[in-house]
């Protein structure tokens, strides 16, 4: 636009102001503040000094790092399960379905995720509880003699996590597989490849960017999930976000909670960074 440089500079400043206020006051400074708080030890009533006590507690108390490791491992498992379950569906929608039914199936995949996570988790509670539908169906089929409690165990948490994350895996997979030209698969068959070898050597390598970005998002969402482990896993869900919540809200030990928060943030960021590095992608291209 043909505005004078002075006006242009003022406009630029006016447009920068909201961005800087948002990122500065709500994202960057709060995280720095949390980092500072995590390196603060409480020595007495209203007495604080800088130190590593909160991190020492994490490494010395087995209960905390066990929960941390458990959360990380279960999130990895949830990511793998989501990938294995979602991949055939994504392949079906991208490569086998055509025209209208393709668009319809794609939309069908999205629908559950317009619904609040709380409602989805509630649905699983109704299905899995002792008086629930799955228990009822098992009894009707004569597989069990009395009501069975399927809620409040690790498998229930896993079911909930996989369900909640499915969209974030299936959509990037469909996008990646859609761009694979059918003729590559045909060429594989012409050259005598079997279904398996084509999947291994043509389809999966091509889908890798989708697999990586889907896995990053699913891992991050599982790691940071609070609702699903608490509602489906019950009191012994032992999820790290639960430990953070306890320190902040129940124990009012914010210094310790901030340290836990930093540890979770570091792990989550590390995985995102690693995934992007391994697949040669950048954050701007993956989410932007």
């Amino acid at each position: 636009m043909t505005a004078s440089p002075a006006i242009r500079r003022i406009t630029l400043a006016l447009l920068l102001a909201p961005l800087m206020l948002w990122l500065g006051l709500l994202v960057v400074i709060p995280h720095i503040d949390m980092l500072l708080l995590s390196f603060t030890e409480k020595t007495g009533v209203r007495q604080y000094q800088p130190g590593l006590a909160n991190y020492r507690t994490f490494f010395v108390e087995p209960v905390y790092w066990t929960i941390f490791l458990r959360t990380a491992l279960m999130s990895i498992l949830a990511t793998l399960l989501t990938l294995v379950i979602g991949f055939p569906v994504a392949y079906f929608i991208a490569k086998l379905a055509r025209g209208r039914s393709k668009a319809f199936l794609f939309l069908l995949c999205l629908v559950p995720f317009w619904v609040s996570e709380l409602v989805r988790t509630f649905g699983w509670m109704i299905l899995l509880r002792e008086t629930g539908l799955v228990s009822g169906a098992l009894q009707a089929l004569g597989l069990v003699s009395g009501p069975v409690e399927l809620l409040y165990n690790d498998a229930a948490i896993m079911v909930g996590l996989v369900y909640t994350s499915m969209l974030f895996m299936v959509v990037p997979l469909i996008t990646a597989l859609d761009s694979l030209d059918d003729s590559f698969i045909e060429a594989g068959y012409d050259l005598g490849g079997s279904g398996w070898s084509i999947l291994r050597e043509i389809v999966i390598p091509h889908a890798m960017p989708g697999i990586v970005s889907g896995s990053i998002v699913v891992f991050m969402l599982s790691l940071g999930n609070y609702l699903t482990p608490v509602l489906l896993g019950g009191k012994d869900s032992l999820w790290f976000t639960g430990a953070i919540y306890t320190q902040f809200i129940t124990r009012f030990n914010w210094e310790q909670g901030a340290a836990f928060g930093m540890l979770l943030l570091v792990l989550s960021s590390l995985i995102v960074w690693l995934g992007l590095k391994l697949s040669g992608q950048t954050l701007s291209r993956t989410v932007g």
Binding site: P18, F92, W114, E117, L118, M125, T131, L227, G261, S269
Partner: protein, 285 residues
């Protein structure tokens, strides 16, 4: 496997069955939530006791329907208030961001762009606690050193709005920037040639073009705000939005009134989703 390449029929059937089972898995939890909103029983569980509308319109304990449940109605009101604030702020900031990133060159632009994307990859609960820590520090400072009591910086609705805004703004920026990128600048130049001031050109040419994306971003923001739980949980005060209220009830043991609320929520979000799709379709023209 491709449609026109011969595959053994039983493999094909097996695959189709798997896809069918998958969609059943997707639909099942939502279907049972909806169905048990009409069960004539005090618990959302088997056996099926027959059809009732008590959980929507009932007004005698223990069957207080949604429309007579003061706490739930108040929570819906709170969520609506929060989501309107979040959507308004997010669309405003996202629009200025879109102009900034699409039209201006400035130092550290690419760094700022990456920082702008970060809220999407930070776990919601961490966003919540970091804002809680920082706002409390300011509030404590104001109270201790200046003798000011700033209630807005204590857990409560203003902080919930800011917490949700902190990551929803990123989403809104991406939606509006994508639309602005496709805008044909020669339309603005035509307006300037016809004697419009730069502001008039933007006001009468560019903004109307951006409108569908702004509306879609606003609707998505409302949806995300209504559904947010993690960030909200850490910042909530005495007035709880709907998801937090429902969570507290779920922990105490559920009644089918929660099914009824869920059904209404699902209907409302489907309607919003449909609106978003319509507006996006309008934007493609």
């Amino acid at each position: 496997m491709l449609p026109h390449i011969p595959t053994s029929p039983w493999l094909r059937t097996l695959y189709a069955a798997y896809i069918g089972a998958f969609f059943l898995y997707l639909a099942l939890p939502l279907a049972v939530v909806s169905a048990f909103a009409f069960n004539d029983s005090n618990f959302p569980a088997l056996p099926w006791q027959g059809f009732t509308l008590d959980w929507f319109i009932g007004n005698a304990a223990p069957r207080i329907g949604v429309f007579n449940d003061g706490a739930i109605l108040k929570a819906i009101g709170t969520s609506a208030l929060v989501s309107v604030w979040v959507a308004g702020l997010a669309v405003l900031v996202a629009t200025t961001n879109a102009f900034l990133f699409e039209r201006y060159a400035f130092p550290l632009k690419s760094v700022l762009y990456v920082v702008m994307l970060l809220p999407l990859v930070v776990p919601g609960i961490i966003l919540g606690i970091s804002i809680l820590v920082f706002s409390s520090r300011i509030a404590n400072f104001a109270q201790g050193e200046l003798g000011l009591r700033i209630n807005a910086l204590r857990p409560g609705l203003p902080l919930v709005v800011l917490g949700q805004f902190s990551f929803i703004a990123t989403m809104a920026t991406l939606v509006i920037s994508a639309r602005l990128r496709k805008f044909d600048r020669s339309l603005e130049e035509a307006a300037l040639n016809l004697g419009a001031t730069p502001w008039q050109a933007i006001r009468h040419v560019t903004l109307p073009y951006l409108m569908p994306a702004m509306v879609a971003a606003g609707l998505v923001s409302i949806l995300m705000s209504f559904e947010n739980f993690n960030t909200t949980l850490m910042l909530v005060g005495s007035d709880a939005p709907l998801t937090v209220t429902m969570f507290d009830r779920l922990k105490q043991g559920s009644t089918p009134v929660l099914n009824a609320v869920s059904l209404l929520l699902m209907a409302a979000s489907s309607l919003l989703a449909l609106l978003v799709i319509l507006f996006q379709r309008g934007a493609r023209r």
